[in-house]
């Protein structure tokens, strides 16, 4: 077998699988997005041009869901960033059982969001034996209805997502912190630099590329958020207080079976995600290149 044949034999199965299971269905949904079609009805798709798109873009409710999503992304990613980076700063020293402690902290991010998210509903509950309300009870007059009060429901989702994913930030920040050469700090000590100066001038610049990767990754992931909202606040409730774009898309496609419109919505989402992931991969390659040079 020549090298060329081997190369093809090795790559082609993966490519064919991805084309069959990703590209082909996406093309089909592109076709459907220009049609009126309900998957629950026997009627064939009827061509209606860009009307699905124009209706969606003119619908103020859709922008409301985008707003909800943006609100969630900003709150959750910011919280994860600060908590995760803070934890990494705390952990960036030698102590006994460090590996064990770090892994314990990393546990939440490996667990199934939907299964753990469901149980969080019990922890956050306000009527029977809610653990969080119990711990907060010295500071509160009455228990907070985390998942039933529209005003705080989003906060509940943010809390659960932060519990799950701040370890992710911590892991990456810790990798960045441990790669900072000790000699830099020693040199700064000789010059009697303050702790704040060392943090600002040495730690931050050297860790920021990795932190940015983590931020981008989390932003994209949070943007797609579906699982936790599905179980924690019962499909984006109360009302539409926590209905993210993904959740709305799910309802459109599998509750109302408005397939044509859902396909159009999916494409709007797709364009945003592809743009985001483009930035992400470009950046990933750059950091990789820098890492190889040093």
């Amino acid at each position: 077998m020549s090298d060329y044949q081997l190369k093809m034999a090795f790559i082609m199965p993966t490519m064919i699988l991805l084309i069959l299971m990703n590209i082909f269905p996406l093309l089909w949904s592109l076709y459907l997005s220009f049609h009126r079609y309900k998957a629950s009805m026997p009627a064939a798709p009827r061509f209606i041009g860009v009307r699905n798109y124009s209706r969606l873009l003119a619908d103020p409710e859709i922008w409301g869901y985008f707003q909800t999503t943006a609100y969630f992304v900003i709150l959750a990613v910011a919280a994860q960033f600060f908590i995760g980076f803070g934890l990494a700063l705390l952990l960036n020293r030698d102590f006994r059982y460090k590996g064990f402690v770090t892994t314990l902290l990393l546990l939440p991010m490996m667990l199934s969001p939907v299964v753990v998210g469901l149980f969080w509903r019990f922890i956050l509950s306000s009527d029977n034996a809610g653990l969080l309300n119990f711990f907060l009870s010295p500071f509160l007059k009455s228990p907070i209805g985390w998942t039933t009060n529209p005003k705080v429901a989003m906060l509940a989702v943010v809390i659960v997502d932060t519990w799950m994913w701040s370890p992710f930030m911590m892991l990456i920040a810790l990798a960045g912190l441990s790669a900072v050469p000790k000699s830099l700090y020693e040199a700064a000590d000789v010059d009697r630099a303050s702790a704040w100066f060392k943090f600002r001038e040495i730690t931050l610049p050297l860790v920021s590329p990795l932190l940015l990767i983590a931020l981008l990754f989390r932003t994209m992931d949070a943007f797609k958020m579906f699982d936790i909202v599905y179980v924690l606040t019962r499909e984006g409730g109360p009302g539409t207080a926590t209905e993210t774009v993904s959740m709305n898309l799910y309802k459109l496609a599998f509750r109302n079976y408005n397939t044509g419109k859902a396909c159009a919505m999916a494409y709007i989402l797709l364009i945003i995600i592809v743009a985001l992931s483009n930035i992400y991969v470009k950046y990933l390659n750059r950091v990789k290149g820098e890492a190889q040079e040093t």
Binding site: L26, N128, I273, A291
Partner: protein, 405 residues
């Protein structure tokens, strides 16, 4: 000065301890709730002191009681772990006739025989799900035997290096792993819905992991070693398929599977999860293969190996760690996956995995949190174990192999 530094050090450690408590409390609470009686769960304030009871776990078991073979398997799982621990901790000299290798052979044969015995002694089939469970059990036995033939160390006896010793000790763990799966299979056959779904999760996760890692390793080797036109674009394309929101992808897949009759089938989900994981496997494996020096291959090529032989005999053995790490990550992803399983299976259906079923327990009135907690804990346990085993590769795994330490 020194004492002040010490004080700061301990203060920080105290903060770390608080953080660990905060992060672990929800997981502990799952365990605690699963061990409580119903009357201890539905109190107004959470109860921290309670009588331990196993009634929630009993709710997950088959309604007609647990078959005796389950305990047989449980015993084998424990004995396997004990043997492994014993031989790893103590350097025991065994008589020649009963070498570690022969002992492993005997132990694994016993396990395979138990599997066959328990398969033959299964209760008569009543429902369709039980027929499916039986088929899955048979599949498990076949897979076990194939796995033994492929990875069993007794095929080669290359002297008593520490490497072969390590491999021989590992044979004691194999029955423990397969035995755990067999327990799920026996309980599913007994009529336990929950273990039927766990078995589905294992089959779908395992099948898709084997396919994804296999395909991914091949593609990663090609991307790592050959010049490919538009390599960066292709790699970006592969990664971007993973970045798509599941809800977006699942709409056309749903239509496609409905047309092809693949909905609520094991094959359909395995195919989808393979697609989902293969991009991840390619990126992660490329990182691992990039690290193997090219000189190894060049030397093998000079010795007259073909490219393919080089791949089999040089690259694959060198990347065993990478393959294992990638496989565990694919397994965890498939195990935890929710959106695809929710749309493409039906609750109570044939191929439904554990996550949609655990979450569909949402009743209109009160929820049985004890039962949910028990199911959740059983579901989380393997992931937690794998997380600890994989802890040195976690960083790589979550960043698609971009960040290495």
């Amino acid at each position: 000065m020194g004492s002040r530094k010490n004080f700061v050090h301990y203060l920080i450690l105290a903060f770390v301890a608080i953080a660990v408590i905060v992060y672990i409390t929800p997981i502990y609470w799952i365990l605690a709730t699963s061990l409580k009686r119903l009357s201890d769960i539905t109190t107004r304030l959470p109860k921290f002191v309670f009588d331990i009871s196993l009634e929630n776990y009993q709710k997950l078991m088959p309604p007609e009681g647990v078959a005796d073979v389950t305990y047989l398997f449980l015993g084998e799982v424990l004995v396997g772990l004990l043997l492994f621990g014993f031989f790893s901790l103590f350097n025991v000299r065994l008589p020649r006739a009963l070498s570690l290798r022969n002992l492993g052979l005997i132990w694994n044969s016993v396990f395979v025989l138990t599997c066959l015995y328990s398969f033959l002694s299964l209760p008569p089939m009543q429902s369709r799900l039980q027929t499916d469970a039986r088929f899955n059990f048979l599949l498990l036995i076949v897979c076990t035997i194939i796995a033994y033939l492929l990875i069993a160390p007794w095929r080669k006896t290359g002297g008593l290096t520490s490497q072969t010793l390590k491999k021989q000790r590992l044979t004691f763990v194999l029955p423990s792993i397969f035995g755990t799966v067999a327990i799920c299979a026996v309980l599913a056959n007994g009529g336990s819905k929950y273990f039927y779904q766990l078995l589905n999760s294992i089959i779908i996760g395992g099948g898709s992991t084997i396919l994804a890692v296999g395909l991914g390793t091949l593609a990663a080797y090609a991307f790592s070693r050959f010049d490919i036109a538009g390599k960066d674009d292709l790699l970006f394309f592969i990664l971007s398929t993973r970045m798509l929101p599941p809800v977006v992808v699942v709409i056309p897949i749903y239509l496609m599977y409905s047309a092809l009759g693949l909905r609520d089938t094991h094959f359909g989900l395995i195919l989808l999860y393979t697609t989902f994981n293969v991009s991840f496997a390619v990126w992660l494996m490329k990182g691992f293969i990039d690290e193997i020096p090219k000189e190894y291959e060049d030397a093998a090529l000079v010795d007259g190996y073909s490219r393919f032989q080089t791949f089999l005999k040089v690259i694959l053995p060198q990347s065993v760690t990478g393959i294992a790490a990638t496989a565990v990550f694919c397994l965890i992803t498939a195990w935890n996956e929710f959106a695809f399983a929710l749309v493409l299976t039906e609750v109570g259906g044939r191929a439904v995995t554990a996550p949609p079923s655990i979450t569909s327990a949402t009743g209109s009135t009160g929820m049985d949190w004890g039962k949910i907690a028990a199911g959740t804990f059983v579901f989380l346990l393997p992931v937690a174990v794998f997380t600890f085993l994989m802890r040195s590769h976690l960083l790589r795994g979550v960043t698609f192999g971009a960040v290495k330490k």
